[in-house]
């Protein structure tokens, strides 16, 4: 349920964009890194509930971005199999994605020193709207 906290951030950022550009927002695209294993139904619901007057009819599109990791020690690039994490680790990464460095190792050399090339965090990818009168 900390998806609500993330939704709050998204709505607030979008609302600020609306105000600064005098927009009535029609479309909001949100990218969700797979690593964080966000429950997108909850996130979607939270967004609907928290929407402001500047985005009354806005459509929220959630896109999941696959996690892609690259080892700094040996150069290996890999896609993550999240089902390999036990529940505790999975929970930890859900709250703080960097905990990946605690629970995940490079499949080739065993190093926790990897880069998350793609699939980390929750981002506001784009906001579209129509200019309001006045």
């Amino acid at each position: 349920m900390h998806e609500w906290a993330l939704a709050e951030g998204i709505i607030s950022k979008a609302d600020r964009i609306a105000i600064e550009n005098n927009l009535e927002i029609t479309d909001i695209v949100i990218q969700i890194g797979e690593l964080q294993q966000i429950d997108d139904e909850i996130l979607q619901f939270a967004l609907e509930q928290l929407r402001t007057d500047n985005m009354k009819k806005a459509r929220f599109t959630l896109e999941t971005i696959k996690a892609k990791l690259k080892c700094r020690a040996c150069g290996e690039e890999w896609r993550l199999d999240l089902s390999s994490l036990d529940e505790e680790s999975s929970e930890a990464v859900h709250f703080v994605p960097e905990m990946a460095h605690v629970y995940i190792k490079c499949p080739r050399c065993g190093s926790p020193d990897f880069e998350v090339l793609e699939g980390r965090g929750v981002w506001l990818a784009s906001v579209r709207g129509v200019r309001k009168d006045g």
């Binding site: 349920m1 900390h2 906290a5 993330l6 951030g9 930890a92 709250f95 703080v96 605690v102 929750v122």
Partner: protein, 241 residues
């Protein structure tokens, strides 16, 4: 792409009256013990107090407080559990006893993530236990926590004080408020540090003697409150409030 976390971070701290980062250029000077004891002493004066451990790669406050079997509650974000009367947040709730080999970028991201989702509620004081050095965590709290002030810890050693000078220099150039300097682990007082702190134009808040009984009090809030360390910090606190 916009990072929505930065948007809420400030709001999460909106009902916190005073935020104090306990910091030093150097490790091992007593930042963590000072953070915990300061938080406990404020709590004893009936303030609502939070404690946040930002030393992600070598957290200590959970060991000092003796935190065990606690976990934050997930509720429209996360609600810090209460330890020793303090709203308490640490990365150990997620890393447990495992090593957390985090690069600076990961430290920065973890810090932003945690601060964006943690709901402290109303607090009189939030005490932040900082990692040593002038790295990502220090730069991030300066940049992201608008009303922060720094409490600096040093020891009498020239090695510690040299790094403290640099920290003061940095904070001054950024106009970040410094509450003052606490001199910890004093063995035979020569007053050297007091003079040096005066020269920096920073308040010397007082000294805490080396306390051989401190180690035996680790992990017990009750025992910590009975240490000479606690008494010394109490005295310093009087001058701070």
């Amino acid at each position: 792409m916009a990072d929505p976390r930065l948007e809420i971070l400030e709001r999460r701290l909106a009902n916190v009256r005073k935020i104090i980062a306990v910091s030093s250029g150097k490790g091992g000077v007593g930042k963590s013990v000072t953070s915990v004891v300061l938080a406990l002493a404020l709590r004893d004066r009936r303030f609502k107090v939070g404690l946040l451990d930002l030393d992600f790669t070598s957290p200590s406050t959970h060991v000092i407080l003796g935190v065990r079997d606690l976990q934050p509650i997930e509720d429209y974000g996360i609600i810090p559990p209460v330890a020793g009367g303090l709203s308490y947040m640490s990365i150990v709730f997620y890393a447990f006893d495992n090593p957390a080999p985090l690069r600076g970028l990961d430290v920065s991201n973890s810090l932003i993530e945690l601060m964006a989702i943690t709901r402290w509620g109303e607090l009189d004081y939030l005490i932040i236990d900082m990692p040593p050095g002038l790295g990502d965590a220090t730069l991030d709290v300066i940049r992201l926590v608008k009303n922060i002030s720094f409490l600096i810890v040093t020891t009498p050693s020239i090695l510690a004080f040299e790094t403290v000078k640099k920290l003061v220099n940095l904070l001054n150039s950024l106009k970040t408020p410094i509450l003052g300097v606490v001199e910890n682990m004093v063995m035979d007082d020569k007053g050297r540090i007091r003079g040096e702190v005066d020269k920096l134009g920073v308040r010397y808040l007082g000294e805490i003697a080396y306390d051989a009984g401190l180690e035996a009090s680790m992990g017990s809030v009750e025992k910590l409150k009975g240490t000479r360390f606690y008494v010394s910090l109490e005295r310093i606190l009087k001058g701070l409030l």
